[in-house]
């Protein structure tokens, strides 16, 4: 393989001595283009046929804004909850040996495997005012099903494995010596965990958060059953897209989709930047 001559002001940094860089990079780009870029640019293309004023009208429509708010808001809250409890679950699974550990470990993956509609129906049955959990919560004045709270619960369910599975290997990697070092320096257990161990997990936790969040934003199947789908209250953006499609209003559907795409991309980009900064530091 010949090296590309330096053309204008920039050129590839010599990537590495391992051969095959050109071939694999070419393949990766072609693959990503085919699988991700072409469908997504089709989306943008389609919504561009609207023209600015129409696009703007759809984007600022109160129902659209509300739906986006609900989608991103609930996904954010659910991801935040998952970060806390997912990390605890991962911690327990790695650090302790107890009967049934393997079963629990396997259970974590269930939300990955279960058809999301099944999860949604199961959750709705549980949390509806007549269901087991719903009946318990109703006297307290807490309504779960058919409210944004229901959406959050569905997204917590869906997002849990993302956090657990990203944090778990990092906890496994924690060096026993680091804990011992903290102890010899006088740190008690609490200080060791909160000053030494958890900050070390931060990059993995952020990744887990990003994955759970991204999944939550795009989640459809499990949410629509429990959400009740009241416009302006518990209607998520993906559902609104489907509604517009059913009305044969393809332009509006793609417009909402494009906004979702832009927002998601922006947030993931920010998270990735935070990540690469911490990576560079911690090595």
């Amino acid at each position: 393989m010949t090296t590309a001559p330096a053309k204008a002001g920039w050129r590839f940094r010599q990537p590495s001595v391992i051969p095959g860089f050109g071939l694999t990079l070419g393949f990766s780009l072609a693959y990503l283009t085919l699988i991700i870029l072409i469908p997504l640019s089709g989306l943008v293309w389609r919504s561009a046929s609207l023209g600015w004023s129409d696009f703007f009208a759809i984007a600022t429509d109160r129902r659209t804004v509300k739906a986006l708010e609900i989608s991103f808001g609930t996904a954010f809250i659910a991801a935040a909850i998952n970060v806390v409890f997912g990390t605890i679950v991962a911690w327990v699974l790695v650090r302790y040996r107890f009967p049934g550990r393997r079963v629990i470990d396997a259970m974590v993956d269930l939300p990955f495997a279960l058809p999301t509609a099944v999860a949604g129906i199961a959750l709705t049955t549980l949390y509806s005012p007549k269901g087991w959990m719903g009946a318990l919560l109703a006297p307290l004045g807490i309504k779960v099903a058919y409210t944004p709270l229901g959406i959050v619960i569905a997204l917590v369910f869906i997002g849990l494995p993302f956090v657990v599975r990203t944090v778990q290997p990092i906890i496994e990697e924690i060096d026993k010596e680091v804990e011992e070092a903290a102890a010899t320096l006088g740190a008690n257990r609490f200080q060791t965990i909160f000053l030494v161990l958890f900050p070390g997990l931060a990059p993995a936790v952020v990744t887990g958060f990003a994955l759970a969040f991204a999944r939550g934003v795009g989640e459809y199947g499990s949410v629509i059953f429990i959400a009740g789908n009241l416009p302006y209250v518990s209607e998520i953006a993906p559902l609104l897209i489907v509604i517009r499609l059913e009305e044969y209003d393809y332009a509006a559907a793609t417009a909402i989709a494009t906004i979702m795409l832009a927002l998601s991309f922006l947030m993931l980009l920010v998270i990735n930047l935070i990540q690469s900064r911490t990576r560079k530091r911690y090595g």
């Binding site: 010596e177 680091v178 010899t184 006088g186 008690n188 911490t278 911690y282």
Partner: protein, 349 residues
């Protein structure tokens, strides 16, 4: 602070890692625990730190029984082989950690902690690296930071577990000299574990030689090297040659000839003679000597190492001669060890 280890035994799953070890460490001493892997040296160090609990026995810090003290209460500085730095903290935060986690009544102010950290960085010759992260440092620098972090808490004892084990030879030698200087400047009682005899002999005031969970010998570098008190120490420290001999009436015999060495305190019977290959005198005539046929001779650095066959080729030993010594050209060499020791053969069964 004096440290006294008294009749300590440690078992892991019924397997004894330490069997009845006693050791007195004087205040301000730099002491090395030396032994092959599995000799229990690291276990002993971890017991002193409180990272393990003894199965039996007590450990005193000064006059105080530390056995039931927690790790946190013992106030020891521990340096790990693989540094164990907190990688999400800057160098300064790493060093200040031990001060920061103190209960608020004893905690210095933030400015004070920062001042102390940069003072210690000066001491370990890393001034100006406060803001770096461990990942941005070399191995040698990381170990210096680890040492500074351990010293920040003003420990009663400094414990170092193979502190230079993960570094390359050059850095190792440099850090060795540097550690000695730091020790002389600060006067901490320091115990370090190593399997590198050169490191132990060069650095330590006293060397504790360990094998199979027991202390074989405690002494200065000179004592341990010149007068090893067991076959193990002879074999483990420095070069040694050994020959099977027989003791009769206090005379040492090889096959059917006395070799001119006396061991009156030993009982009659089979025994083994140990000596250093360079600690010999050559003899012209042999009446009472070890004589052997030259089997091979190699030049090793500044000396010539001659391999001799003794007693018709059944045993081979090595001796060292100065380069250019005429004896190396001869086919038969007679010599007598100048410093030597005979150990009776251990009773089998």
């Amino acid at each position: 602070m004096e440290v006294r280890v008294s009749n300590v035994r440690k078992e892991f799953d019924r397997f004894p890692a330490l069997r009845d070890v006693s050791l007195d460490i004087r205040s301000g001493e730099l002491i090395a625990l030396l032994g092959p892997s599995g000799s229990g040296k690291t276990t002993l160090l971890r017991l002193i730190a409180g990272l393990e609990r003894p199965t039996r026995g007590t450990i005193f810090f000064g006059d105080e029984d530390a056995s039931n003290r927690t790790i946190q209460e013992r106030n020891v500085g521990f340096v790990f082989q693989h540094y164990a730095l907190f990688r999400h903290m800057t160098v300064a935060d790493n060093i200040g950690f031990g001060l920061k986690v103190r209960p608020s009544a004893k905690r210095p102010t933030k400015a004070e902690i920062r001042r102390r950290a940069s003072e210690l960085l000066d001491l370990v010759q890393l001034s100006g690296l406060e803001k770096r992260y461990p990942a941005q440092l070399s191995g040698g620098q990381r170990q210096r930071v680890a040492l500074a972090r351990a010293m920040a808490i003003e420990p009663k004892v400094l414990l170092l577990d193979e502190p230079f084990g993960a570094l390359d030879a050059q850095v190792r030698r440099e850090l060795r000299r540097w550690l000695r200087e730091i020790h002389d400047a600060t006067g901490h009682t320091t115990i370090f574990v190593t399997h590198d005899q050169e490191e132990a002999l060069e650095l330590a005031d006293r060397v504790v030689v360990m094998s199979q969970g027991r202390i074989e010998q405690i002494g200065t570098a000179d004592e341990v090297y010149d007068t090893p008190n067991s076959p193990f120490v002879y074999g483990f420290i420095g070069e040694s040659s050994s020959l099977p001999v027989k003791v009769e009436d206090g005379q040492v015999w090889i096959s059917d000839r006395p070799i001119g060495l006396t061991a009156p305190e030993l009982p009659d019977g089979e025994a083994t003679l140990y000596f250093r290959p360079h600690d010999i005198e050559l003899l012209d005539e042999c009446n009472g000597c070890i004589a052997g046929t030259v089997a091979a001779s190699r030049r090793v650095a500044g000396t010539r190492r001659v391999e001799l066959e003794i007693g018709g080729g059944r045993e081979r030993i090595e001796i060292e001669l100065p380069v250019g010594h005429p004896a190396a050209q001869k086919s038969r060499v007679a010599f007598r060890p100048k410093r030597w020791k005979v150990f009776p053969k251990p009773v089998e069964g």
